[in-house]
């Protein structure tokens, strides 16, 4: 009976109700997209493995570490594997085609990353070919590469034109794994650098270390950093998670701005919704007075307005949540490789519903209090 009343009330002003629901729909959709963008930003942090630590120059990432550190790192207790990595920073055809490229120690790097699934036969081919490259599934799909294709890159950090042959395509163990990366042999890079720029040869940008016991990551890090203290290249060792987080924190301001803005959109829609409910309640003041005259308690009268507000907000919100998925998918295609992982998470969906419910309740507060307090005589006399 009560529910029917609420729904009937909501449908009295079809245009107004549908416009309001549309507003909620847009707001919840926008909120969901923005949350997903923020999550995508943090994806590297969330997928970081606790069994890997990163050793890099303590001054900053632009300072490389000597290749001789590799064997020293391997001898540190608790370290199960060491792989050197260099950021290549090449351009494929045009500057806007950005994707991360790494020169890695092929035999050592991939065993550290069990989440990259590489076909065994292709991996062997990759190891055999010094110009070989392993690319992620998403990256390969973006540019239509297949195994055997030649990919030319123009070096920005290492000048010149570089050619690679795609030897394998890796898949992610789950959808959270970044499959937009490009890996190739560090030796290929180093041999050419030796000839062209001998002073820059035999250096790694950073080392990825596998450790036996994740609980002792901090201790292992301290041992490593102590070993290289007061050398030409002092090191800073941190967990993969902390390392990834340091990248995100660089653009902290932008993340904060997006977060603020995503709540702002909820505020805007709250104003719109509150407006709708205020108008409806004002028009129906005499009805509420009638209900009260019939013996309904102020609480029930107020409840009518809250219920109507909630109904509109939740319907609009639910549609917004449903629409988030296809729109996010479209957005992912548009931005291409900018975000390696772009998925609407469960937490986002929950938050969307919470926001819709909060909008529904808050928007109804003032009108329902007003309706609950209306004096029967005054209300009956009032004309909308």
């Amino acid at each position: 009976m009560f529910l029917k009343f609420i729904l009937r009330n909501a449908l009295r002003h079809r245009l107004r109700t549908s416009l309001t629901a549309l507003g909620i729909f847009v707001a919840i959709l926008a909120f969901g997209l923005l949350s997903t963008v923020i999550e995508a930003w943090f994806s590297g942090v969330n997928t970081a493995s606790s069994s890997r630590i990163i050793t890099r120059s303590s001054v900053s990432l632009v300072f490389p570490l000597p290749a001789t550190y590799r064997e020293k790192l391997r001898q540190v207790e608790g370290v199960t594997g060491v792989a050197g990595v260099n950021w290549f920073g090449g351009v494929y055809q045009e500057t806007k085609n950005f994707f991360p490229q790494f020169a890695v120690d092929p035999e050592d790097y991939f065993p550290l990353y069990p989440e990259y699934l590489i076909p065994e036969a292709d991996y062997k081919e990759f190891l055999r070919d010094r110009k070989g490259a392993i690319v992620g599934r998403k990256l390969a799909d973006t540019y239509g590469w297949r195994v055997g294709d030649v990919v030319p890159l123009k070096g920005m950090i290492y000048p010149g034109n570089w050619e690679f042959v795609v030897r394998a395509i890796y898949e992610g163990r789950d959808s959270k794994v970044d499959t937009s990366q490009f890996f190739f042999h560090w030796d290929y890079l180093n041999e050419r650098v030796k000839i062209l720029m001998p002073r820059r040869a035999n250096y790694y940008g950073l080392y990825v270390l596998g450790i036996a016991d994740p609980d002792r990551a901090a201790e292992t890090g301290r041992v490593i950093d102590a070993q290289f203290r007061n050398s030409l290249a002092e090191t800073l060792t941190e967990t993969e998670r902390a390392f990834q987080l340091s990248f995100v924190s660089m653009v902290e301001t932008l993340v904060v701005a997006i977060r603020v803005v995503s709540y702002l959109v909820i505020f805007i829609i709250m104003a719109v919704m509150a407006n709708t409910m205020a108008m409806s309640a004002r028009e129906r003041l005499s009805e509420y007075a009638t209900l009260k005259a019939l013996g309904f308690k102020p609480f029930s009268v107020g409840g009518l307005i809250v219920g109507e507000s909630m109904a509109i907000a939740l319907i609009g919100g639910a549609l917004g949540v449903i629409a988030t998925f296809p729109v996010a998918e479209m957005f992912r295609r548009l931005v291409g490789s900018l975000f390696p992982v772009f998925e609407v998470s469960q937490a986002t969906v929950m938050l969307q519903f919470v926001c819709a419910a909060v909008v529904g309740i808050v928007a109804a507060v003032i009108p329902s209090v007003r309706a609950a307090r209306v004096q029967i005589a005054a209300g009956l006399r009032a004309v909308a």
């Binding site: 507003g23 653009v251 805007i268 719109v272 108008m279 909308a384």
Partner: protein
């Protein structure tokens, strides 16, 4: 016959709560819109102010940024002996050969490290950038491990007060001064002696060269000669153009994100305005009938309601711009992806931004008001009088 302007104005006043809520929604949208434009403008003006038109910056070909670039001494010698290079008072060419590296420093507010540019410069570098002025302390002594820090760095990073020491390149560097670079990108840098820096970082190459042209129009000739010279692998850019390009990716990102958001948000606000105007029309059906009976034309009714919607938009726009203007007090800093280093910039409100924000607000009001106003204008006199 026109319906007086005060009719529309008073109608808004008569329904204050609704007007305020609708205008608040519009104001928030305008606020976001204006803020984004201000941010982009602030970023641009910071980086544009960094370069001078008659300065030429030379970096390694296809390096993109100063940090990635390397120019060896032989090439540097060829570049600085070009006839277009202006001579200083001492008869030496006005050229500053500089070395740039990034170090990470902890931020004061969050403690998280961020990349900061260290520029090994020369005294000529200061002559070439007249906007750089020492405001506290003194300049570094040539040949010493002394550094001066930019204003933005001094404000937001730990351990860079005068007298404190920074450790990098196996040395302790003493901060001896703070400089103000007139809100340019140099404010986010640390400067010291180029030769000392090169020693400390074991570099043999310079990162970039800056030089003054003796004739600003001679740039094209110089660029063509330098880039055609087989001994050189460099490219030359006007300093101003170079720094403008450095901001491009970030500025574009801010603009696209901001405009997308503004459009999505504006849908919400337009709906709000529409609901308000529809209600306003519905509540005044009798009034509209009376006005029509008095002899006001449909066009006048339409105009009156449109005016009301426009006023609503203007109020929202005014409030939004006022809120946005308070953002000018805030300075933000973030990592510029292209140079991979921290850059501080502020929100910059220009008359153009005010104009476009107001136009945006009034446009939203208009879009929200057009349908309800048309509905009001289409009403039949008899029906609407009866409805009352």
């Amino acid at each position: 016959m026109r319906i007086p302007f005060s009719y529309s104005l008073r109608n808004l006043w008569a329904r204050r709560l609704t007007t305020a809520l609708t205008a608040a929604g519009l104001a928030l949208v305008v606020f976001v819109f204006a803020t984004v434009l201000m941010l982009e403008q602030g970023l641009r003006s910071t980086l544009v102010a960094t370069g001078a038109y008659d300065n030429v910056l030379v970096i390694r070909r296809s390096a993109g940024t100063e940090v990635q670039s390397a120019i060896d001494r032989t090439q540097a010698g060829v570049v600085e002996s070009q006839p277009e290079v202006s001579l200083g008072l001492d008869g030496q060419p006005l050229v500053s050969k500089e070395v740039l590296v990034l170090i990470s420093l902890p931020k004061r507010d969050s403690g998280s490290p961020s990349n900061v540019v260290i520029r090994g410069a020369t005294e000529r570098g200061l002559v070439l950038r007249p906007q750089v002025q020492i405001t506290q302390g003194r300049i570094w002594r040539p040949g010493s491990s002394e550094i001066v820090v930019g204003r933005s760095i001094a404000d937001r990073f730990e351990g860079v007060a005068i007298g404190q020491q920074l450790r990098f390149g196996m040395r302790d560097w003493t901060v001896v001064g703070i400089f103000d670079a007139g809100k340019s990108g140099f404010d986010s840098e640390i400067w010291g002696d180029a030769d000392q820096m090169m020693q400390a970082f074991r570099r043999v190459n310079f990162s970039s060269m800056v030089m003054r042209l003796n004739d600003p129009t001679a740039f094209d000739a110089l660029k063509a000669r330098l880039e055609a010279d087989p001994r050189l692998t460099v490219e030359a850019k006007r300093e101003k153009v170079f720094y403008e390009e450095q901001s491009e990716a970030l500025a574009r990102f801010i603009r696209y994100l901001g405009i997308t958001l503004s459009i999505i948000f504006s849908v919400g606000a337009i709906i709000g305005a529409m609901i308000t105007m529809y209600a306003s029309v519905a509540a005044r059906t009798g009034e509209i009938g009376t006005l029509r009976a008095l002899g006001f034309q449909r066009g006048s009714i339409l105009a009156a309601f449109l005016t009301e919607a426009l006023l609503l938009g203007a109020v929202g726009g005014g409030v939004g711009v006022a809120m946005a203007s308070s953002m000018q007090l805030i300075t933000v800093s973030t990592v510029n992806w292209q140079s991979f280093s921290e850059l501080a910039f502020s929100f910059d409100l220009t008359p153009k931004i005010i104009a476009s924000a107001m136009a945006f607000a009034i446009g939203m009001g208009l879009l929200g008001g057009v349908l309800p106003a048309a509905q009001a204008a289409r009403m039949k006199i008899v029906d609407s009088l009866r409805a009352a």
